[in-house]
Symmetry: C2
């Protein structure tokens, strides 16, 4: 069900020929009655913004936050494609709008895949009638599959609130699947909410999930998270809606981390005792993005010296004599120096697929965490060539 | 000759047993007459500063920039070792001073290797008489070998100025050799210069060499570059001295990049047309530190989309429609979109061991460059386990 779990939405996914192996590559999510509903979006902060992001932002702005559909293609990012790329993104929206009977600016568009290659519009033009014709309440799984690139599994979620539902689908994580870059997510709810309320709930959801997920520290040209609200479940408290959106986003982010390219471990870096929450996040991200730390996790090597070194160079307040480090609850460094510990317990912890690394800076109350992965031979294999 | 190429210096390198395979691991550079001379240092900005860095800084401060010797050990960083680590670093200096007949604070100390393990002082105590006894003007090569960790070749340089010489030796590059972390370099000159003049020349040299070299974006606990001046060649113009120090540092940095762990390519990222020099450096470093770009260079894949994506997320002013990218002079992106190019020429360029990537942002006069490497299976192999 996922992106159609909330009442009032339909979805579909078809193969239109962008992928050369016949896998599905064009997805559509639309309101069941084809009328626009309140919508909000969060987008990449990369200044090399892809045309579909530019167009989707402009459409949300023009409509004051209303959308009837989201069309998504995989295998081509329509990024670094200039004015022709913007025209292609607009034409894609217009083609969908024409079929659905809404206005072009009520359609949002997302693309994911290789950068710098013109979108194959012949494939898109052939695919739009097929994907609009296939729309149904049962089409969520097809849609979720059609947005995948190097992902190995579809990522879907449905969260039940008190009388309402938040559902969604996603692909990749930031530059998790960089062959065909981009993290995309579409969420729907049947709660009644204004665009501003959706925007607030979505920003809260993204902050603790997608923005606390770092696969390789890169930031894509196409990252987009959208939330549409049909209103069929009636008004919902803001806190309840936000909680459900946060839960849905966190679930999808966890699925992304579990499916990261070439990864053998899902690692949560938890930083406490920082001088501020910002400092905690900065240290967690520095450790999560460190090639050296990532390689050591791959090797199940509890070499905490690298963790301390990264913490000390993160640009946050740091006192080398106050830092402690624990792997899966086994403290290996305390007061800045090696701590006696149970070697067998540490070996067992390091062998796990899910590893938690706790760093306490001993300075204050700031806390933060990042979900990430190890750096593996598989990652290098996947990313050394795009074709 | 290298670190003894300038008149007035001797050096030695011996095996004292820190490395378990019998390779040399203790080096010494000293003035020929064992008297202190003007000296300056540049150190890591990592706040997890290792005790030898703390001690060397304190000694230079106490003496007002005078040193008679530098003692260096490899295979143990004496980092994250707390008060005992500082006592060990001080004892090492005192042992050397006792043998040379100078004061302990006239001896500087550097360590490179694994973090978090107490320095094996029994080995150091046994090694100091051996290394002081071996000092000679012909000992430079032995000293250069004794500071290596995972480096495959010794790194030495001698630059001839007008009537004076700058020589030096180095190991590793930042976290280039992270098994046993740390970049160290000791430079000597026979030019006569005050500590302040040496400090200015050294900062200029480091800025355009070691600080423009990024292997994996990490910043070690022990990085140290020292410069001692015997004065035997008499006074030298500041510009001439600076030029020679810059040349020596750049040469050593190039040797480090050429010997980076697991690397198959040396890559220079040159950014022009930035809104400011700071912006140019930021963009160059972002590209150089990108796991995705590094993997693509390993695969000889000219996928410029990643370069543009990193440029757009570097925190610098950026206009996606003005950026151009060239690999080895072959322009692949112009005005933010794919540029027609000679595919055969591009393939030939991408296959080279030395690759230059030129990014022009089309915004202003800011320029900057970074020397770096590719990310390879060999890097993962070297760094997934410390033992």
């Amino acid at each position: 069900m996922s992106v159609t779990a909330a009442r009032g939405f339909e979805a579909a996914g078809v193969a239109c020929g962008i992928k050369d192996d016949g896998r599905a590559d064009l997805a559509l999510v639309a309101t069941a009655d084809r009328r626009p509903v309140p919508a909000a979006g969060v987008f990449t902060v990369n200044l090399a913004t892809a045309p579909p992001v530019v167009v989707t932002r402009a459409h949300l702005h023009a409509t004051g936050g209303q959308a009837a559909a989201v069309v998504l293609n995989s295998a081509n990012a329509n990024a670094a494609t200039g004015d022709p790329g913007r025209a292609d993104a607009e034409e894609t929206c217009a083609l969908v709008a024409d079929r659905l009977g809404c206005r072009g600016e009520e359609v949002l568009v997302c693309s994911t895949g290789l950068i710098g290659i013109p979108l194959p519009m012949a494939a898109i033009r052939a695919g739009v009638p097929a994907v609009t014709g296939a729309l149904s309440a049962g089409g969520a799984a097809d849609a979720a599959r059609a947005i995948l690139t190097t992902d190995t599994t579809a990522k879907e979620v449905a969260v039940s609130g008190a009388g309402f539902t938040v559902g969604g689908m996603a692909k990749g994580a930031a530059m998790l699947a960089p062959h065909m870059a981009t993290m995309l997510a579409v969420l729907t709810t049947d709660a009644a909410a204004s665009p501003a309320e959706l925007d607030a709930a979505l920003h809260a959801g993204v902050a603790d999930s997608f923005n606390a997920l770092s696969i390789d520290g890169c930031c894509s040209t196409n990252d987009t998270v959208l939330l549409l609200a049909s209103g069929l479940a009636g008004p919902v408290g803001h806190a309840e809606l936000t909680a459900a959106v946060v839960e849905a986003c966190a679930d999808l982010a966890g699925q992304m981390a579990a499916d990261a390219e070439g990864a053998t471990k899902v690692v949560r870096v938890v930083v406490t005792g920082a001088a501020s929450p910002d400092d905690a996040s900065r240290v967690a991200r520095r450790i999560a993005d460190s090639q050296l730390c990532k390689c050591s996790w791959y090797g199940a090597d509890p070499y905490w010296g690298r963790v301390v070194s990264e913490a000390g160079s993160a640009g946050a307040a740091f006192d080398p004599e106050r830092v402690s480090v624990a792997y899966g609850g086994v403290t290996v460094c305390a007061g800045g120096v090696a701590a006696p510990h149970d070697a067998a317990a540490l070996t067992e912890v390091m062998a796990r697929r899910n590893l938690e690394i706790a760093v306490d800076l001993g300075l204050g109350q700031g806390a933060g965490s990042i979900l990430t992965n190890d750096l593996t031979h598989g990652y290098v294999d996947e990313n050394m060539r795009t074709s």
